[in-house]
């Protein structure tokens, strides 16, 4: 049985609550009256995954069945989401691999020879062979990777980009040439949160900087309220316009999957239970984990957390025409994530966990932590932000992980050079974005190493633009003061101190809301 999400009001019976902070978590006693938003428990999964996939492929929405679209001699391209989804990484077998296997089985039966598999990583880093293998599965990997038919999308390979034209708002649409010139483009997605999927899959996942700059900028992001709600997100509007243009050029068969909230595997499952329901065993595990982490070096904690593999259950799989599919997908996503919250509050508290979309197998640097807190978590709302305009946001993260030089080389320069000058997303974008986007060294690393594109840190900063625009005060609890200052924020050692610091903005007895995620939630603010 799964219980819906709900809003807890902290009273004298409430035990201390878990707050994630990077590679660890703390137990925080919130002031009485604090509202705590709990996500719904995992909703029921499909009984038979293979059967569900087959059903979706044979009875798609607003499209002929997949076998009818396959014929000998055709060019078939299968694109799929990269390792930024789901979070944490799914325990093998990955759902994308299982779907791709079935698609390929049908393709083999239909006699299709020309098949390419492309990871839709856009400006994300190239995945390693092992990471690709984890997503598509050993069988697919072995059949396609050595032949060079399974590869990461390269948004800087001028020879493999096709400019499809401009939308009615003058936005360039430039995507992978192979995908654009295929007879059929099958996209396999993991719709972990509401922002994923739809036209964002092909329109963004397979697009180049030339195309992305139209919606990945400070102005658009400030007007995306929130980007978790595609109907009110300027970014998604742009992606939708582009997606419709793509549709005129290539037949897209979209396969979207939704997952439940089983994020933490044993023995960390206590992290997704409601604290007052913790058994003695849960409490003991929690104490053990906390004590262990307090003596473990950072590297070991990093390893412990990043080795977690989630045991997600599949709650739905839909295939067919992009928009028809996405509508059904969102229904499931909302069922799993939506929590009704009455009214805004003065202070929003969020714990930034160890993982975000851009530090899988990597480190959560301060910019990514900001993006995670002020970007993803802040935007986890529908309707109105959880915090009122001019309120305060309190985030938990030590900001001490440093930068991964292999994956985030441009982040370091962004942090040291750009943020030293200004932290205003619009200002830094105006002055530096082009320089970073066109830096040959970053492009070289993006194409040949495993680095995020030079412009990527700017996108992270834009992600947080809406929050920075909306609230007056951002305070990091337990953070390195110098780092917080560089980011343009303040640091406090405890929640009490943070509230004290925020009292200038929100008064001495503010209303507080704490978003208890992960697991993921989407606050439906009325």
């Amino acid at each position: 049985m799964s219980r819906p999400g709900f809003v807890l009001e902290v009273d004298d019976r409430t035990p201390p609550l878990v707050v994630h902070e990077g590679l660890g978590f703390r137990l925080e006693s919130f002031p009485l009256g604090t509202r705590v938003v709990y996500p719904p428990e995992s909703i029921p999964t499909v009984p038979d995954v293979e059967e569900a996939i087959r059903e979706a492929l044979l009875h798609p929405h607003d499209s002929e069945p997949l076998p009818a679209l396959l014929r000998p001699g055709m060019r078939l391209t299968i694109a799929f989401d990269d390792l930024s989804l789901p979070l944490p990484t799914m325990r093998a077998p990955d759902i994308r691999g299982r779907i791709i296997e079935q698609v390929l089985t049908l393709a083999a039966e239909a006699g299709v020879d020309d098949v390419h598999l492309i990871a839709a990583n856009a400006l994300h880093r190239r995945m390693t062979a092992a990471e690709l293998k984890h997503i598509v599965g050993e069988r697919v990997f072995r059949s396609f990777y050595p032949q060079g038919q399974l590869y990461n999308f390269d948004a800087e390979d001028r020879d493999d980009l096709a400019h499809l034209g401009t939308t009615d708002k003058g936005e360039d649409v430039e995507i992978s040439k192979r995908a654009a010139e295929s007879d059929l483009l099958v996209y396999v997605n993991v719709n972990l949160v509401a922002m994923d999927g739809g036209h964002k899959s092909v329109g963004i996942g397979l697009a180049s900087y030339r195309s992305l700059r139209h919606h990945h900028n400070a102005k658009t992001m400030v007007e995306s309220r929130s980007f978790m709600d595609h109907k009110h997100s300027a970014m998604h509007h742009s992606a939708w316009r582009m997606g419709r243009l793509v549709k005129e050029h290539v037949k897209v068969f979209q396969i979207e999957t939704t997952l439940n909230n089983d994020v933490f595997p044993r023995p960390f499952d206590f992290l997704q239970k409601r604290e007052w329901e913790w058994s003695v065993k849960d409490q003991a595990t929690m104490l053990g984990v906390r004590r262990g982490m307090s003596v473990a070096p950072l590297r070991m904690r990093h390893r412990m957390f990043h080795d977690l593999r989630s045991v997600y259950g599949l709650t739905g799989v839909n295939a067919g025409e992009v928009e028809a599919v996405h509508e059904r997908t969102l229904q499931k996503v909302h069922q799993q994530h939506l929590v009704e919250v009455q009214g805004q509050s003065d202070v929003l508290v969020m714990g930034v966990p160890y993982l975000g979309p851009y530090n899988v197998n990597s480190s959560m640097n301060p910019i990514l932590a900001t993006c995670m807190g002020l970007g993803y978590y802040f935007n986890s709302y529908r309707g109105r932000p959880v915090v009122r305009k001019g309120g305060a946001v309190i985030l938990y993260h030590p900001l001490n992980e440093g930068f991964n030089q292999l994956h985030h080389p441009s982040y370091v320069d962004f942090y040291e050079e750009v943020l030293a000058e200004s932290t205003d997303p619009a200002v830094v974008g105006e002055k530096y974005e082009q320089q970073f986007a066109q830096d040959p060294w970053y492009i070289h690393l993006y194409r040949t190493s495993h680095a995020y594109h030079g412009v990527h840190p700017f996108y992270m900063w834009y992600w947080a633009a809406h929050a920075m625009d909306h609230v007056d005060e951002v305070i990091w609890v337990g953070a390195d003061r110098r780092v917080a200052a560089r980011l343009g924020f303040r640091a406090a050692s405890t929640l009490a101190d943070a509230l004290e610091m925020a009292s200038g903005t929100v008064g001495s007895s503010p209303s507080i809301t704490y978003l208890h995620n992960p697991p993921h939630l989407l606050a439906d603010v009325r």
Partner: protein, 308 residues
């Protein structure tokens, strides 16, 4: 040192936050989302395995029995009926005190005692691990739900494993020593699994240790216990018809215990068995009557070698 200090702080925080040693509490605003209490019952399979049985034998023989006998005196009648039945039975008894269970168990012959389990209220005996472990280890209790719900082990399973059961059909201890309303669980089980019901009547436990008292009253009170003729549900007999027969048998035994077998038989035959639920008089008079131990004039010390 800071590690130790932090550990102490952590443990203290958890101990305070989760109210160690006391009942866990649910925040008021979360109360509507509390799951049904299924998860709070602890499994008892282990208590019917060999190591637990051995431990129980020691606990009962070396601990419980001497202690029990030092506090009360007992008189046991009618054990001969057990020689007439084979295999598991259901002992159905009236319930007036926590002394009932040790009284019944310690009155049984050893080979029966070792294979007898006691049905105990899940919501009381099985909601904390120490009470669950303690009662299953000492009395071989297993949980049954007084309110209807899913149990870790059903009485049926225990019966099917060849264990005899002790069931108190009243479901709770009497507040005044008199018999309460009988539920049909025992009758249902007997019918369902085709096992005989042995009615058991005992008197004096209410007088010795009524509800609300934590230890038997001083003076080695007299308890009496009487096992009756096994009842087997007829092939055509429904549970609804069988249940009253059990109750009547217990009532007749109580009558027999306070008078003689012959008189009780005659009263039963004429339908004049005194109502075991007691007279409809003022509450204090009902309690007054029950607080009198049977055979109050029994000598303080007797030659125990001849007792049975």
């Amino acid at each position: 040192m800071s590690f130790i200090r932090e550990s102490v702080d952590d443990v203290r925080q958890v101990a305070r936050g989760w109210r160690w040693g006391r009942r866990a509490q649910v925040p008021r605003s979360a109360e509507e989302w509390v799951l049904p209490a299924r998860s709070t019952v602890f499994g008892t399979e282990w208590s019917r395995r060999r190591p637990a049985m051995a431990a129980r034998e020691v606990a009962q023989k070396a601990g419980l029995e001497p202690l029990f006998r030092s506090q009360v005196r007992t008189r046991v009648e009618g054990l001969d009926v057990l020689s007439r039945v084979d295999g598991p039975v259901i002992f159905v008894a009236n319930h007036a005190s926590h002394l009932d269970t040790p009284l019944i168990l310690l009155s049984l012959p050893d080979e029966w005692r070792r294979r007898t389990a006691v049905a105990a209220a899940a919501d009381y005996f099985f909601d904390t691990w120490w009470r669950a472990v303690g009662s299953s280890l000492l009395f071989n209790t297993f949980p049954i739900d007084r309110r209807g719900g899913i149990m870790a082990a059903t009485p049926g399973e225990v019966l099917a494993e060849g264990w005899s059961l002790v069931i108190y059909p009243e479901g709770t201890r009497s507040t005044d020593g008199w018999l309460g309303r009988f539920r049909m669980g025992a009758a249902f089980l007997a019918k369902e699994y085709g096992v005989p019901v042995v009615p058991v009547a005992h008197r004096g436990t209410f007088a010795a240790m009524p509800r609300g008292q934590g230890w038997p009253s001083t003076g080695r009170r007299q308890l009496t216990i009487r096992f009756g003729e096994p009842l087997v549900p007829g092939p055509e007999e429904t549970v609804r018809e069988f249940a009253p027969r059990i109750k009547d048998a217990v009532a007749a035994l109580l009558d027999e215990d306070s008078s003689t077998w012959w008189e009780a038989r005659r009263r039963a035959a004429s339908g004049a068995t005194p109502d075991p639920t007691g007279p409809k008089v003022a509450q204090w008079r009902r309690v007054w009557q029950q607080t009198q131990s049977p055979q109050a004039d029994a000598p303080a010390r007797r030659l125990t070698a001849w007792r049975r």
